[in-house]
Symmetry: C2
DNA sequence: CTTTTTTACTTAAACGTTTTAGATTCCAAA
DNA sequence: TTTGGAATCTAAAACGTTTAAGTAAAAAAG
């Protein structure tokens, strides 16, 4: 494939390279007549300016680096994949490329592309270490953080309001007559844990209840550990009537356990999750949960990053979410 | 952030830029002594060479363009996401970036980056139009195709062997005593349809059977159309004992229909799928299917593309797959 | 002790754009 | 006719690398 350059286009059109550059970038300083003439040749040859030289001279990469800490369970991946779809959707609209990367070295180094002028902005996805954000600040490259529960002050982040979500979920259980509510939470990310715990206890308090300490110290980190946590919870003498799980994947593991113990859901015990992952509407019974618009999270992340790149001040956003009522919660009031 | 260049490094070290470039790229032509001296300054300053200028002079982008025709159902997306994980995994190992893109214009134009020197290779994912491959050939950029059933001669493609998969699935049903087997297939991609149909009829023939024409003309394009197809199939007077679905998502839709009709799975009717998507092990009953290693598909796609970029000849590969026996097929022999 | 070869190093061109600063043309106003 | 100022156009520098070609010094060969 013969490579055409601006110089050759210029020669063909009988003008200078500057003129060609002007028509390429829709800049003034060239008559309508020559603009047409040059454009015609560009169209005929199918000429596309070399991006690498453009990037070099403009000191711009048209590239966004999406840093994913680590791929883990397929569940989480799916969650992040939906966010990614939002990001991609938006980036294509604004003619930015997305390069998917991850921390290098001992997990707290930014990828080289950040330092080598190949990145106009960074999106951190998932919880990330403070070291990483510090380095991002030092690099001077604009960045936003999406779905990292550790809301570090001074850093623009896009997060779902898990506190409100837990509150809404708890309230829904209470409104359905549940009083003995257990919570399977995650302690791996302290900030996330305190948020969800707060939402839970607040809702309980509003109904004049104090959470049963036997019920909410339960910690899990994935579907399988949630299974184990549920085992302890459900085989105790006085078992809760409902189990609130901090994320859907926990609920899926916990429900599997309940079934294995011969319990009927929601008749014997109710379950709620948070996130509304794709799976939740396919398991049986379908999971009642609090849904978060993941694609929207991605869209917002990209939009605010673009603002940041333009040098504008940006605020963090806490995305609202909505209750998704399906079949895993029993109404204890209307028997 | 102060930007350091080779020139400055050279000045600090008291050598020429060439010398610096040599140590950066581990090239001979510089004494061990000065190499150490320069390296020390590079380390101290944390200097990273500007990638854009490097790309320009080397006429190389270290960038792979992953073209996804269109995002469609969450199912399919998940399937392709797994392939993408394989691709990412491999690309990071070889220091290539992956840019996710899609056809532009009327869906049969390659993205600009292909023409503007910003792509060292292309991976096409999903079925793609002939126009697109023709343009890719014309562009001179190396490319491979992954999971496109239309195996165009002369184009290196990475595909799962759906014919063999259908054959294996059919054989499994036959071995479990099923004789009245229906097939819900997809006719949207003719090549895919002929492959799966061939695998099906071959297996039937091996058992001295000819497929019941009432049973296999059924076409679907997604979970919902599969539901409709199943409705026709299962409410007919003489309904099949087993339904073979060309992809798992069809099976999921069809099973939903069976349940709605009050049929018990697998007692009243058995189901099989192909692909083994994540969902298949979470629905009830768990779907018996033929599994395909999607991550491996991605890995292979990236590996062969890298070969192609190096100028080597590459062969297409047909990936084998294996039976995943779960709970959706009844054994009619041992009652 | 000269000649050749090797080694270590440097100068400068090249990659393909954008853009600054300057040159030329054109035309209206003086 | 001159003058001045848009309007149009161009030459050349700049972006930060790599590398071909060349030089100088040191080592090997004669």
């Amino acid at each position: 494939m013969k490579k055409v350059t601006v110089k050759e286009i210029a020669k063909m059109a009988g003008v200078s390279v500057t003129a060609v550059s002007f028509v390429l970038n829709d800049k003034p300083g060239v008559s309508e007549e020559t603009r047409k003439k040059v454009q015609k040749i560009i169209d005929e040859t199918g000429f596309k300016p070399n991006l690498n030289s453009k990037k070099l001279v403009l000191n711009k990469s048209f590239n966004i680096c999406l840093i994913i800490n680590s791929f883990s369970s397929p569940f989480e991946d799916l969650f992040y994949f939906e966010i990614t779809r939002g990001i991609l959707n938006r980036s294509q609209k604004y003619n930015y490329n997305i390069t998917i990367s991850k921390p290098t070295g001992s997990k707290d180094e930014l990828p080289d592309m950040v330092y080598s002028g190949d990145t106009d902005g960074i999106i951190f996805m998932q919880d990330i270490s403070r070291k990483l954000t510090d380095k991002a600040i030092a690099s001077g490259v604009p960045f936003v953080v999406v779905d990292s529960h550790a809301a570090i002050s001074g850093i623009t982040s896009i997060n779902a309001d898990y506190r409100m979500a837990t509150h809404a979920a708890t309230k829904f259980l209470l409104d359905n007559g549940h009083r003995d509510i257990a919570m399977i939470a995650s302690e791996t990310v302290p900030e996330f844990h305190t948020q969800t715990l707060a939402g839970f206890t607040e809702a309980m308090k509003e109904y004049g209840l104090t959470p049963n300490p036997d019920y909410y110290g339960i910690s899990a980190s994935g579907e399988d550990t949630a299974y184990e946590a549920a085992k302890k919870l459900l085989s105790s003498k006085k078992r809760p009537t409902a189990v609130l799980c901090t994320v859907d994947s926990f609920a899926i593991g916990a429900m599997r356990c309940a079934k294995d113990l011969g319990l009927s859901i929601p008749h014997d015990v109710s379950f709620m999750g948070i996130d509304d992952i794709l799976l939740s509407r396919y398991i049986e019974p379908k999971l009642t949960t609090v849904g978060i618009d993941k694609v929207e999270m991605g869209v917002l992340a990209m939009d605010t990053l673009l603002q940041k790149i333009k040098g504008k001040k940006t605020d963090s956003v806490l995305l609202p979410m909505e209750l998704v009522i399906r079949d895993s919660v029993r109404n204890l009031l209307h028997k």
